[in-house]
Symmetry: C2
Subunit: 322 residues, 2 copies
């Protein structure tokens, strides 16, 4: 690796200590190191990791426009009333098109911008090592080490990427809105299976109860296919007035108690850490293979383009060489 | 590897020849080998690969309910009128919930079930090596080798997975419907950037023109951010009557001509083959690492659970060991 350990050491000197003391600027700095894939991030992570694992982590996912940010803003207020410090890792797809929408979402969270007990960070790029799931996981660990009691992962959209990010959390909340094809889309993307708590927002919409019924039916079918001892509750909320958000918070807590009592908590955390380790190793290898392919092995790919060598044999060749 | 080459040889004897002769049962058999991850699939691929590369490949993506299957059914009819043989690889997410919806989609394609010039195959499981993108790519190659002139990739949903599958094609069509948040969702999922041709279905909906305008605006913003010499056309279609599908077909052909004239065709195919090779190698390694972790290295993970070793150091350890 082409970087000086001494430089990395210098750059992070004192950073871990300041982070552990809850210094917001140190936290912002560490997350930036993660985003830039700075080798120093690895040092910091090794140092802070033992201080993590105590926070309550909740993943929020759901299609755009559902009102996740409003619900989260209200939920943060409830946690703050209990004196808890809340970190939010907000994950948005990499599209350069989407910046406008992200800003819009952020503005709704701005009530909390001046509160030192709240830290909100967007992660945008898909490019970095470990992908969005890897980066957001490290950001969340940094927040835990900085003493945040609750860490929320917010993801926009329902797709495999969002599933990966949200599954890092102990409890996954899926937010839907009435009268949309959202439930069907979520179901197709495999998000239904990972949701522990459902939230139907815009409860004032006359179709809200229908949406709730539809979700319950899908859950029943799902439960017949693969029985689940936990029945995900479906909470009706209003992000604008905050109605139902207290119930949502109680259901999140009830799910956590269920996890702990059933022994699922340990199992889930272990599985999630294992996935993270594998994700990281795989994505590092992928990077190395791509570099190898570009630096030394254009010849192999040339033969694939000319249809002289099939892609699977080529991949096994590269696999052996790296 | 724990399998007998002789057995693999025997199982595939004659299969390649029958496939090359356009035998539908041989084609179905080869795709099943791919889905089962049978080692014989590798042998077959190596044998058929030199016969591939001539087909026109088109990726169709878009949210569920847009009417992709109806459009594809009409498009197939147009290709059939020209005497072209058409293969469809239909990719659905792995959720056990979604079987019903898949069947519904298939029924709309049933006009062509008895036509020997049309071959439709669904790929469901995310589990196999190379993921859905890998499996569907191999199925498409098998169709090409069996003499299909056009291969369509149909994906349901707009997410990173669908993007991966559709990007294997030379031309990507994104189907949207009027009055939905689909465009925004597609944009957030990074699908807007990979679409070469847009199709607004349900053109009889009064909001269709608005949807078209909205897409055009987003494309203009996107073009300012990263200029594209190809301006994706936006075609209004009606899957029920077939209106506009001939125009859609012409735009697909016009895009192909653009690719060839600009030299983009070669570049795109090379990039796509390279991604496939990397995907395959990575997913094989991922499998091996997972097995390694489960067989021999529970100790490393145990230290991660106990917060004695951080996940990145653990992943580097495993990475070195495999």
């Amino acid at each position: 690796m082409l970087y000086s350990w001494r430089m990395a050491k210098r750059a992070t000197e004192g950073l871990t200590e300041r982070l552990a003391a809850g210094d917001r600027r140190a936290l912002a700095r560490v997350i930036s190191l993660v985003e830039r894939e700075d080798p120093a991030a690895k040092e910091v992570l090794a140092a802070i990791y033992p201080r993590t694992g105590e926070a309550v982590t909740v993943g929020f996912t759901g299609p755009p426009g559902v009102g996740k940010s409003s619900i989260i803003a209200k939920l943060i207020r409830l946690y703050r009333e209990e004196g808890k410090r809340v970190g939010v890792v907000s994950v948005d797809p990499s599209s350069p098109f989407s910046k406008g929408a992200i800003l819009g979402d952020r503005i709704r969270l701005s009530d909390h911008f001046l509160d030192s007990g709240v830290f909100i960070r967007s992660m945008g790029s898909r490019g970095h090592l470990g992908g969005l799931a890897g980066g957001s996981r490290l950001a969340a660990l940094a927040m835990e080490a900085a003493g945040f009691d609750v860490v929320l992962y917010e993801t926009v959209g329902v797709g495999q990427g969002e599933v990966e990010v949200a599954s890092a959390a102990d409890t996954v909340v899926l937010a839907l809105q009435p009268g949309s094809g959202d439930a069907v889309q979520a179901l197709k993307a495999g998000v239904m299976e990972i949701a522990d708590v459902f939230c139907v927002n815009k409860a004032d919409d006359p179709r809200a109860k229908d949406q709730k019924r539809q979700v319950r039916q899908m859950l029943e079918i799902g439960n017949e296919l693969s029985p689940n001892p936990w029945t995900p509750p479906i909470v009706l909320t209003r992000g604008d007035t905050g109605e139902g958000v207290d119930e949502l918070k109680r259901e999140i807590e009830r799910h956590r108690e269920y996890l702990k009592e059933s022994g699922e908590f340990e199992k889930r955390r272990r599985e999630s850490l294992k996935s993270f380790v594998l994700l990281w190793a795989t994505s590092r290898l992928q990077k190395e293979m791509r570099e190898h392919l570009e630096r030394q092995d254009e010849g192999t790919m040339e033969r694939v383009y000319r249809r002289e060598l099939d892609p699977i044999s080529a991949s096994e060749k590269i696999y052996r060489e790296v």
